[in-house]
Point group: C2
């Protein structure tokens, strides 16, 4: 087996080619939520499978009821090393609003900034760039010798839409996918020079509500006054979801929420997270969450209720004096450990129904649900990973929470009885889900080097 | 001059050709609010001008800063008859949502129903069908002899967008357009067999509000909790616009509203308006306006605040965990006599601004404003019109209010010092501004006959 140094040197030497490969991947607009991009999602899966095959993985595209999975297996030279399951996703968020991109979202490019080089394009950070750090680490091992661990790679194409096909796929392929631990790269660094290992993840409940009122669109002059307006009904429901202290008013919502243990609270306090800067970077100044909580708590350990979209009536240019037949909104609840997704969805729906006037009814559409996760990570694997990251970055990694959801981590725990080590190299300001998404070249490069160190550490 | 009987017979005889002419007009999709249809609006104006020219009017298309006007003048044989100014509009509402039309909106057709024949298509009732009843009456006079009154016809192309170019056009052409009285046909019958003369019209204020929060769209996992959501802010403002008794909460909103005089209230009460049926026809059962007011009061003599459209965040299929940078809504206020449009707009804006949290700001866009009108109609012209309608329909016409706005009537009063006689033949269930708009064949046919009788009565 080659020395770690030669593997790291190979990663350095491969960097330009690695960026070119990533750009090929990004040029495939694999937007999973919009059926118009279905074919592109299949192309992205095929591209990834071919890539793994070229690295000696036994890899294939695996059909599901939705978008396909990509699965690849490769053995280490030594049999007595751990088997890890690496997870990533090849699908990306929609690129809209397109007019806010300075260059086309699916024509990635390198941008030189004062702080260093950045890779810009939809999926650079979420998640194509991140997952390719792991693939490039595997390549460097292959080009200098053998893999240090047995590796299974699982890439899905529905992460951005709540992973509807994943539970059935995991259930049907338990034996094949089970490993000693899972590795997930869909997470953040603490800052550009400080790595992080994420040990807490919020869960998510995605609900869409359509309020139906009159049986057709009405003229607001001919019917305005006596006819109920579904936009008004929906607005009132949304307005009542939070009280004046920022707490969510749905009954039982906080019943299963656990207060942060003091030791974790202290550790986070010591991070001296700059909430004012965090908000200031996006043009805000006043934390909008629960009163009396720090910004970091709001993000990492408190549940939320957001409205992700709302639409009703006439929304194009100019005016139209219409009183619409319906109005709808998309809601997402971020959950923390112990909150039960099904209960939250049930109580939310009851909350909406209770507030409907006589002439309105509500239609509910679920877009997925997953519980939160909190890993009591005191394992040897965690310790080895901390040391590996410390050596690569010259700094102790932060043990962090994460505001976002990675449903797969819950499934790995529940269905495959595996813990997950979450290490990723994205930054808060990577503009994921927004126009002009980027990924730092340093994240891409040192991310691959970090995986080389972690895999080596895990195998020893 | 030909007898009224021969004019009426000519209208009967012309009916099929009149429908064919109307359908030609409707096939031009003159949607004024959407710039994509700009060319079609110009085509509709040219079509109408050519039509008037063919009837011996001195007619032309007159450019404005927005969409053009059509103006035509024709003299009666006798000099000592009244000069009337007839107003209509050739623009129509957008046809969306297109998927709810059973046949294409701009391919008009005749539908046979148990209750008689209907003309179906965008603009059949609002306002192309209505205005053509007057044009067809003029044609019958021309084809049997001379016009009974001096007639000026003014057709505008921006009625559905608040008539932005009209005030300047009236001001610039006062002498040319001034007449003894105005005739406006953009109103309703009481029911399919009972004509109506409208003497009260609500005014309108059209306001669009854009709430701006974060400086870009955010990931709801990465920022949800501490970051303010403009949809939530907008929903709260909308929710607070009405109190629990259905009253609008904007300060001073009702200060200038006058209670209905008892005699008018009694007359309306005797109409035995079936509020339950009115609401039932559109799938509703509970009046949503001010408690303690009848449905007819809510429609004819009380002001309203409606939300005509709302949009923010992700609204396409599926889900997107975005926390949007902005959310917007379009509002329309229906005003009653004495309410001042500028005051209402000013107080509404202040209401919104007062409710903005620290990190949000509001952008306001006005889409037009016009005051309400109430005509104390005791003139000889009104009496003659009542008798003419009584003879044609065999029933006393109702002296009605109208929930909708016809800004031109206010302008005629204010700028040209003319009263307006409002007679139209549309019905409540004509689905104007909605999919499958229709106009009764009886309205189209007897509408033209009614104008023949009214013009004759006014000339005697």
């Amino acid at each position: 087996m080659a020395s770690l140094d030669s593997v790291l040197a190979k990663i350095d030497q491969n960097l330009d080619a690695a960026v070119a490969r990533l750009f090929e991947f990004i040029k495939i607009p694999s937007v999973s939520t919009d059926p118009a991009f279905n074919n592109d999602c299949h192309r992205a899966a095929a591209w990834a499978a071919a890539e793994l095959t070229s690295l000696g993985f036994e890899a294939s595209v695996r059909e599901t009821e939705g978008l396909p999975m990509v699965v690849g297996h490769a053995k280490a030279a030594r049999p007595d090393v751990p088997h890890v399951l690496f997870y990533g996703h090849y699908d990306v968020q929609p690129a809209d609003p397109l007019e806010l991109w300075t260059t086309p979202p699916f024509e990635p490019r390198i941008v030189e900034t004062l702080a260093g080089r950045q890779l810009v394009g939809r999926g650079t950070a979420d998640d194509k760039g991140q997952l390719m750090t792991f693939v490039e680490a595997c390549r460097a091992f292959r080009e200098t010798g053998e893999l240090p661990c047995h590796i299974t790679i699982l890439l899905e194409g529905e992460e951005e839409t709540g992973s509807p096909s994943l539970p059935a796929f995991l259930a049907a392929n338990k034996t094949e996918l089970r490993a000693d631990m899972a590795l997930v790269c869909d997470t953040l660094m603490w800052d550009k020079s400080t790595p992080a290992i994420t040990t807490m993840l919020r869960g998510m409940v995605l609900e869409e509500v359509v309020i139906h009122g009159p049986n057709r669109d009405l003229h607001s002059g001919m019917f305005g006054g006596p006819a109920i307006n579904p936009i008004r009904v929906l607005a009132k429901i949304i307005a009542e979801l939070h009280d004046d202290t920022g707490r969510i008013t749905i009954p039982e919502f906080y019943d299963d929420v656990i207060e942060l243990p003091n030791e974790i609270a202290d550790q986070w306090h010591e991070l001296r997270f700059d909430g004012a800067k965090f908000l200031g970077d996006v043009g805000l100044s006043v934390p909008a969450g629960e009163h009396g909580r720090s910004v970091l708590e709001m993000l990492w350990s408190r549940p939320t209720c957001e409205i992700n979209g709302i639409v009703g009536g006439y929304t194009a240019k100019g005016s139209k004096t219409v009183l619409p037949a319906q109005a709808s909104a998309k809601f997402s609840f971020r959950l923390v450990a112990n909150q039960k997704p099904d209960e939250v969805a049930k109580n939310f729906r009851a909350f909406v129904i209770e507030r409907l006037p006589a002439d309105c009814h509500a239609e509910f559409i679920s877009h997925g649900a997953s519980g939160a996760i909190a890993l009591p990570f005191t394992s040897e694997a965690l310790n080895r990973t901390r040391r590996a990251l410390q050596v690569e970055w010259g700094k102790e990694p932060v043990l962090a929470g994460c505001g976002g959801s990675i449903p797969i981590v819950g499934s790995f725990k529940k269905d495959l009885k595996m813990d997950t080590l979450m290490v990723g190299f994205s930054l808060e300001d990577d503009r994921i889900h927004s126009p002009n998404e980027k990924y730092e070249m340093s994240s891409f490069h040192k991310g691959a080097r970090s995986w080389a160190r972690i895999l080596t550490a895990l195998s020893q």
